[in-house]
Amino acid sequence: MSVPRYWREEVPRYRLQGKKCKACGAKYFPARPVCTCGSTEFGEYKLSETGEVVTWTVIRNPPMGYEKYKPYMVGLIELDDGIKILSQVVDVDPEEVSAGLKVEAVFRKVKEDGKEGIIQYGYKFRPVVE
């Protein structure tokens, strides 16, 4: 990811910050410029930081830049506010994951642009710590 793009997406990636259509109330994450209802008026919407795993997969042959983390899991998470997002699931072994596993958002390193480039941070999910 380019440095300018990373910078543009910091707030949504750091804070799980989405948009809500002012006309019909549809919620978007990531944000989009036009709603399906045709409106271009959006307000801020903070996504829930807890939810549960719907389904998941284990990545053993990762794309370039993610080799360091393999094997890692990517899950479809249904947040408590009903929004579904894709995210890495961490702090858990693949055999410990199941549908319905309660998870919470954490702030983690996502990728490093080599040893000289920027460190990209963002959200991931882990089993809820109580």
Binding site: V90, R108, I119
Partner: protein, 345 residues
């Protein structure tokens, strides 16, 4: 030292990563005998000082019930910055929603960088300059393979938000003190991967001299004796040093036990005293008085007296530090090296 207006803690958070390396595993690889701790925390592959700081900061904001946009300062004390040049504090401030009307900086003073940040936040809030100021002590400490520090160099951190003392603060600062000399007991030169230390020189002229110097000065200034405190926490590079220094100052094992977590966590460096203080706040009762003294090589100590307030009952929700300490997964030595990025590829 006392501020012009009284200052208190309005929120705190502490975090320890879930992976653990047993000291016996270090001994298995390097042929050692005995160890200064039982086990130490190890970062996940995707964790560093910034992610640990954000974890603590988010918990502190949540517990404080304040608007993060009202935080005027975010200071991160650490000796393991992910970037050599680029402040960790900016990332933390952005992640918690404190930007852009905020002051941030990274503080460096070995293991007392976190309490140095606390001392500064207390001064800034005490002067009326900021409504809220956040200090974080966090580290992913470097221990050279086969060195004595490899048993203990661990990771973790804690965050504290300071505000003017009110019914909303969970503990107020009665007084604080700083004590510093130029003592070369431990250092890491620029671009070097690992620190060097002076072995036994790190004891009497370094750790003990500065903690006792700061501790006695603060007790004298405040007019208290050790028995006037319910709890105490001292920098914990291992288990033995804080026990010995507490005895030298006149504190008992019962006073330091709740905050003594090094045996199962290791030395979290800039996080050490702040993490121990968090463990005490997790169980303290309103009215309890806490004595805290950090130590940072180089060298110096910051000492604090806190008195716990009623609001603590309502502002320590969510996982306690013990939840993070008990949530653990053991790794072998080679996995530890991988997590630490010490395997050449």
């Amino acid at each position: 030292m006392k501020t012009l207006r009284q200052v208190g803690i309005v929120g705190y958070g502490a975090y320890v990563p879930m992976y653990r390396l047993k000291a016996s595993e270090v001994n298995r690889v390097w042929g050692g005998v005995g160890a200064p701790v039982e086990e130490k925390s190890v970062v996940a592959l995707d964790e560093d000082t910034v992610t640990i700081s954000v974890e603590c900061a988010k918990q502190a904001v949540k517990r404080s019930k304040i608007n993060p946009a009202d935080i005027g300062a975010v200071y991160v004390g650490t000796e393991s910055k992910p970037y050599a040049v680029k402040p960790s504090g900016t990332i933390v401030a952005e992640a918690i929603g404190a930007t852009p009307n905020v002051s941030t900086a990274d503080y460096e003073f070995a293991c007392k960088a976190g309490t140095e940040a606390m001392q500064n936040c207390i001064g800034l809030v005490g002067s009326g300059m900021y409504k809220y100021a956040m200090a974080i002590g966090a580290d992913t400490a470097q221990g050279k393979p086969a060195d004595a520090l490899e048993y203990t160099a661990a990771c973790g951190g804690a965050a504290y938000i300071f505000a003017e003392r009110s019914s909303e603060t969970i503990a107020y600062v009665e007084a604080s003190y700083s004590y510093v000399t130029d003592t070369p007991d431990f250092w890491r030169r620029a671009k070097q991967m690992y620190p060097r230390h002076g072995n036994r020189f790190t004891g009497a002229p370094a750790y003990f001299k500065h903690i006792i110097g700061a501790g006695k000065a603060l007790l004298d200034e405040a007019g208290y004796k050790p028995e006037d405190f319910n709890w105490a926490v001292f920098h914990q590079p291992n288990v033995k040093f804080p026990i010995n220094v507490s005895r030298m100052l006149g504190f008992t094992l019962d006073q330091i036990n709740p905050g003594l977590v090094a045996g199962n966590v290791g030395n979290t460096y800039a996080g050490s005293t702040p993490v121990g203080l968090a463990a005490i706040l997790d169980m303290a009762e309103p009215g309890d008085r806490i004595f805290a003294v950090s130590y940072g090589s180089g060298a110096g100590s910051d000492a604090f007296i806190f008195t716990v307030q009623d609001a603590i009952e309502d502002k320590r929700g969510g996982p306690k530090l013990s939840s993070y300490i008990e949530r653990k997964k053991y790794v072998d030595y080679s996995t530890y090296l991988r997590h630490r990025g010490q395997i050449i590829q």
